[in-house]
C-alpha cells in the first residue's frame, strides 16, 4: 500500500530537473594568461595559441522527477562533477538547457569558506549562509545543528583548534540543515570514519522520506544500490546508460572490469594484503637514528614486499605531534616514486624506497610518522599491510636549522622531498657508493673543466662570530636528487693531498652523482680557517659549469696559490638548484640538493 503510494508520488509528480541536450565545453589554455603583458601581447597577435577545447559534457539529456533520488556514476574524468556544477548553476552550459524547479542546494564540499581564525559558531553562520540559509533560519536551527554535530561546548573555540573530524562534523551538520527541495551531493560520504558515513546515510534516507529530490555523484556502487532509485552512467562526458540502479550498476561493473578498473571487494582484499611494508626506519646523514636536528637531512627508509605487481604506487606520509596528539599534519600525500629519474610505474618483489627530506622543518618535540602505500589508479586504495608508524624525536637545531624551522608545521608540505627506489644493483653494490672506491670509474667520464677561482670572496670574521661558527657541529642536508659522494683536495699535478705548501694551488674536487637530469646546477665551496677565522667562498653560480648534469661526475674548483695562509681549513661543499626567481640570492638556503657542512679538512703549511 505504502509502496504504491510512493510509486504514484514519483510517477505523477512533475519534473524537478529537466536537462535537454546539454553540452559543456572547457577551454584549457596551456599558457594561462595571467599577466597584463601577456594579455596585451596575445591581443596584438590576435591569436590564441595553445588553447585547447575539451567537451566535458556531450549531449546530456535526462529528467529527474520530484522526490526521486538519482545517482551518477562513472570513472574519474567522466564529467560527473561538471554535470553537478552545471546543475547547481555554478557553471553556465555551453549549449542546451537546464530547467530546475525548486530551491537547490549544492553540497559539493563540506565546510566551504571555513576560516580557521574564526570560532566554530561564526564558521557555522558563515558556511550556513553560503549554503543559502538566512540569519533567521540559522538562529532557529542553531541548537539543532550543534546537537547534531555533538560539538556542544566547543562552539566558541576557534576552528583552528579543531581536529579534522570535528571540522567535518560541523560542516556536515550545517550542510544537512539546508532548506532546499533539490540536493546535489558530491561524494563527501567518502570522507570520515564509518560512524560518520553511517550518519550521512541515515540523513540521506531522511531526506528521501521528506520527499526531497537528490542527485548523488558517487564512485561507490554499493551506496548507489542502497539509496538511488535510478542511476546515470556517464562515460567521457556523455550518458552511456540510464535506468534502474541495479541494471546500471551491473553494466558499470562489467564496463569497469573490462577496463581493469574495478574488482570485487573480496578479490581486492586478498590481493591488497599481499603488499606489505616489512621494514621502516629513519636515517639522518650519519645513518639510522631516532633523534634528529631540525634543519638536517631526514630520510625515511622503507622496504616493501609484494608478490603481485603494484601499478602506479604512491606513498602517503603524515606527521603527528605526539604531545597533544591532535595535530595530524599531512606531509606529503600520494606522491609518485622515482626510479632512475623516471616515475616508477610498477613495483614487484622487494623494493627499498627512500624518502629524502631535504631538511627537517619541525621544531623540538616528539613526533610520529605514519606511512602507507596506495595505488592511485585503483580508486586510491590503501594497501592495509603497508600502514605503519614510527616515532622520532627532534632534539635541537643544526646550524642550518634556523633557516628552515617554520613556525607553522603546515609548511612541512612545501619542503623538497625526493622519493626514490633504490635499484637492486645499487643495493648489492652499496659499498661502492661510499667514496674512494670508485675514483677510477669516474676518471673515465667526461670531466668538467676546472674553474679558476677568480671571484674568491674573502671575508674575515670577528672573534665572536668565529666562536659561534665553531661551536656548531658538522652536518649535512639536502634532498639528495644530487648526492655529493666525496670532496678531495689535489695539487696542480692532480696528486691527492691533505697538506699543501703555501705556494701551491689547491684544487678542490667535488664528486657527485646526479640521479636525474638537473639543469643549471650550482656547486659551491666554503673554506674556514680554523685559527685565523678566514672564510672563503667560491661557487660556480655565474659561470655555467654545465647546462645540465646527470649521472656521476666531477667538478673542480681552484684556489690560487697565496690566497691561503698557514692554517687548518675545514671545507663545506654543496650542490644547489639554480632558481630563476632568485637568481642572485637565497639559492643556498632554499634549494640544496646536498650540502656537507664542514665535513672535509686540509692544511696549509
Amino acid at each position: 500500500m505504502k509502496d504504491e503510494k510512493n510509486k504514484d508520488k514519483v510517477e505523477n509528480k512533475e519534473n524537478a530537473i529537466e536537462v535537454k541536450n546539454l553540452w559543456k565545453q572547457f577551454t584549457i589554455s596551456h599558457e594561462k594568461i595571467s599577466s597584463l603583458k601577456e594579455g596585451v601581447i596575445n591581443f596584438l597577435r590576435r591569436s590564441r595559441v595553445n588553447n585547447e577545447n575539451i567537451w566535458a559534457l556531450k549531449k546530456v539529456s535526462f529528467d529527474v522527477k520530484k522526490g526521486e533520488c538519482i545517482g551518477i556514476i562513472g570513472v574519474n574524468g567522466s564529467g560527473k562533477t561538471t554535470l553537478l556544477r552545471v546543475l547547481s548553476n555554478i557553471l553556465p552550459p555551453t549549449k542546451g538547457e537546464v530547467k530546475i524547479k525548486g530551491k537547490i542546494a549544492p553540497l559539493l564540499n563540506l565546510g566551504i569558506g571555513f576560516e580557521p581564525e574564526l570560532t566554530a559558531k561564526e564558521n557555522l553562520y558563515l558556511y550556513g549562509s553560503l549554503m543559502g540559509l538566512s540569519k533567521e533560519d540559522l538562529d532557529k536551527k542553531y541548537q539543532d545543528i550543534v546537537n547534531f554535530s555533538e560539538l556542544d561546548g566547543y562552539m566558541d573555540t576557534k576552528l583552528k583548534n579543531f581536529s579534522s573530524g570535528m571540522e567535518l562534523r560541523l560542516g556536515f551538520s550545517t550542510a544537512v540543515n539546508v532548506d532546499a527541495d533539490i540536493l546535489l551531493v558530491d561524494e563527501f560520504l567518502a570522507v570520515g570514519d564509518i560512524g560518520f558515513q553511517k550518519k550521512c546515510l541515515e540523513k540521506i534516507e531522511e531526506f528521501k522520506k521528506e520527499g526531497k529530490t537528490i542527485v548523488l555523484v558517487t564512485h561507490n556502487v554499493e551506496l548507489a544500490e542502497k539509496i538511488c532509485d535510478r542511476t546515470i552512467f556517464l562515460d567521457k562526458g556523455s550518458i552511456k546508460n540510464i535506468g534502474g540502479t541495479g541494471k546500471i550498476v551491473n553494466i558499470y561493473k562489467d564496463y569497469a572490469l573490462k577496463h581493469g578498473l574495478r574488482k570485487t571487494a573480496h578479490e581486492k582484499n586478498v590481493i591488497n594484503k599481499q603488499v606489505e611494508l616489512s621494514e621502516l626506519h629513519l636515517e639522518d646523514h650519519g645513518g639510522i637514528n631516532e633523534t634528529f636536528l631540525s634543519g638536517d637531512r631526514f630520510v625515511v627508509n622503507m622496504k616493501f614486499k609484494s608478490s603481485k605487481v603494484i601499478k602506479n604506487p604512491v606513498i602517503s606520509m603524515w606527521v603527528k605531534k605526539t604531545a597533544n596528539g591532535k595535530l595530524s599534519q599531512m606531509l606529503d600525500n600520494k606522491k609518485p616514486i622515482y626510479e632512475d629519474g623516471k616515475v616508477c610505474e610498477k613495483l614487484t618483489g622487494v623494493a627499498n624506497i627512500k624518502a629524502i627530506f631535504g631538511h627537517m622543518p619541525l621544531k623540538q618535540g616528539i613526533y610520529e610518522l605514519i606511512v602507507s602505500m596506495s595505488d592511485i589508479k585503483n580508486n586510491s586504495i590503501v594497501y592495509p599491510n603497508t600502514m605503519k608508524k614510527i616515532s622520532f624525536r627532534i632534539t635541537g637545531e643544526s646550524i642550518m636549522g634556523k633557516n628552515y624551522v617554520k613556525s607553522r608545521t603546515r609548511r612541512m608540505r612545501q619542503i623538497p622531498i625526493a622519493l626514490i627506489v633504490e635499484s637492486k644493483k645499487n643495493m648489492a653494490d652499496d659499498k661502492k657508493t661510499i667514496p674512494h672506491a670508485w675514483d677510477e670509474e669516474i676518471q673515465n667520464q667526461d670531466q668538467i673543466p676546472d674553474y679558476k677561482a677568480k671571484t674568491i670572496k674573502l671575508k674575515r670574521m670577528g672573534p665572536l662570530d668565529r666562536e659561534l661558527w665553531y661551536k656548531k657541529e658538522r652536518t649535512r642536508n639536502g634532498h639528495g636528487r644530487v648526492d655529493i659522494l666525496n670532496v678531495k683536495m689535489f695539487d696542480e699535478n692532480d696528486v691527492e693531498k691533505t697538506t699543501f705548501e703555501n705556494n701551491e694551488d689547491v684544487k678542490i674536487k667535488i664528486f657527485y652523482d646526479a640521479k636525474e637530469l638537473i639543469k643549471n646546477p650550482i656547486f659551491s665551496i666554503g673554506i674556514f680557517g680554523q685559527n685565523s677565522g678566514d672564510y672563503l667562498e667560491l661557487n660556480t653560480k655565474n659561470k655555467e659549469v654545465a647546462k645540465s648534469i646527470s649521472g656521476k661526475g666531477i667538478v673542480s674548483l681552484k684556489i690560487n696559490s697565496g690566497e691561503l695562509k698557514k692554517d687548518v681549513f675545514k671545507v663545506s661543499a654543496g650542490v644547489f638548484a639554480y632558481h630563476p626567481r632568485h637568481p642572485k640570492e637565497l639559492y643556498m638556503r632554499d634549494y640544496p640538493f646536498d650540502y656537507f657542512y664542514r665535513c672535509f679538512e686540509f692544511e696549509v703549511v
Binding site: R85, I112, E117, L118, L130, K135
Partner: protein, 264 residues
C-alpha cells in the same frame, strides 16, 4: 537584471554575515584587534604631520585637522578598491563550489571596508569637532558623500574584480595608482596651492572633488575654495556620477560573472 537583484536581496543575510566575518577575520588574529583600525591612521597622521606642516609652512594644528579630513576618505577608497578587486580570486573556493550570487563577495568586501571607514570617521571626526571646529549644516551631507564613495568603490570594484580574475598584475598597478593619488588629490596640500591655471584640469578628477567635498563638509573653514566648488551642486553631480559608475560596473560584472567558475 531585475531578477538578479531580487536574487541578491534574498541573499542579504549572507552578505551581512560575510561582511562581519571579514571584519572579525581582519582583527581576530592581532592582539590589539579593532584598535588597529584607529591606531593605523593615527600613526600615519603622526608621521605625516611631522613632515608636511614644516614643508608647507602652515599652522601645525590646522594642517592636522585638514589632513584627517582627506586621509580618511582616501583610506576608505584605497582599502575598498584593493579588497574588492582581490575578492573574487581570494574567495575562489566559494565561487566554484557554491551557487550564491557572485556579487555577494565584492559587495561584502566593500561593505566591510565601509564599516571600518564609518568607525574611523566617528572617532576621528569627533576629535575634529572636539578640538573646536563648529559643525555646520553641511555636515548633513556627510551620509550622501559616504554613499557616493561607497557606490564608486563598489562600481569600480565590480569591474576590477572581474578583470583581476584574468589579469593578476592589477594589484600592483592599483598600489602604484594609489601612491600617486595621495599626491594628486588635495590631501596633504590645499587646493589653493594648486596653480590657478591647472585647477580646471585638476578638478576633472572626481576623487579630488570627493575629497574636497569631505573637507568642506567637515571643516567649513576650508571653504575658501567654495567659490570654485559649490558644495551642494557638486555633491548632487557626484552622487549621480557614482550611480552611473555603479551601474556600469555592475553590468560589466554581470556580463563576465558566469565565466568566473571556469576561469578560476
Amino acid at each position: 537584471m531585475l531578477e538578479e537583484l531580487k536574487k541578491l536581496w534574498r541573499y542579504r543575510s549572507t552578505i551581512w554575515i560575510m561582511t562581519t566575518s571579514n571584519l572579525k577575520l581582519k582583527y581576530a588574529s592581532s592582539y590589539l584587534g579593532f584598535l588597529w583600525s584607529i591606531l593605523e591612521p593615527l600613526l600615519l597622521i603622526l608621521v605625516y604631520s611631522l613632515v608636511f606642516p614644516l614643508i608647507l609652512k602652515t599652522n601645525f594644528f590646522e594642517w592636522v585637522l585638514f589632513f584627517i579630513c582627506g586621509l580618511l576618505p582616501y583610506r576608505f577608497l584605497n582599502i575598498g578598491f584593493v579588497e574588492t578587486t582581490r575578492s573574487i580570486v581570494d574567495m575562489r573556493n566559494i565561487i566554484i563550489k557554491t551557487n550564491i550570487p557572485t556579487e555577494v563577495i565584492p559587495i561584502s568586501k566593500a561593505l566591510s571596508s565601509a564599516i571600518t571607514f564609518l568607525l574611523e570617521s566617528v572617532v576621528f571626526f569627533s576629535i575634529v569637532f572636539l578640538s573646536g571646529v563648529q559643525p555646520t549644516n553641511f555636515i548633513l551631507l556627510f551620509p550622501v558623500l559616504f554613499v557616493t564613495e561607497f557606490f564608486i568603490i563598489l562600481g569600480v570594484g565590480f569591474y576590477l574584480s572581474s578583470l583581476f580574475v584574468r589579469f593578476r598584475d592589477l594589484t600592483y598597478i592599483l598600489n602604484i595608482a594609489f601612491q600617486a593619488l595621495l599626491f594628486l588629490c588635495p590631501i596633504v596640500y590645499t587646493l589653493v596651492m594648486v596653480p590657478e591655471i591647472y585647477r580646471g584640469v585638476y578638478l576633472l578628477n572626481p576623487i579630488s572633488r570627493l575629497i574636497l567635498l569631505y573637507q568642506s563638509v567637515i571643516l567649513h573653514s576650508a571653504s575658501s575654495f567654495i567659490e570654485y566648488l559649490p558644495v551642494l551642486e557638486n555633491t548632487v553631480v557626484l552622487f549621480i556620477f557614482s550611480i552611473a559608475v555603479l551601474l556600469i560596473g555592475y553590468l560589466q560584472f554581470n556580463k563576465r560573472k558566469h565565466n568566473f567558475a571556469g576561469e578560476l
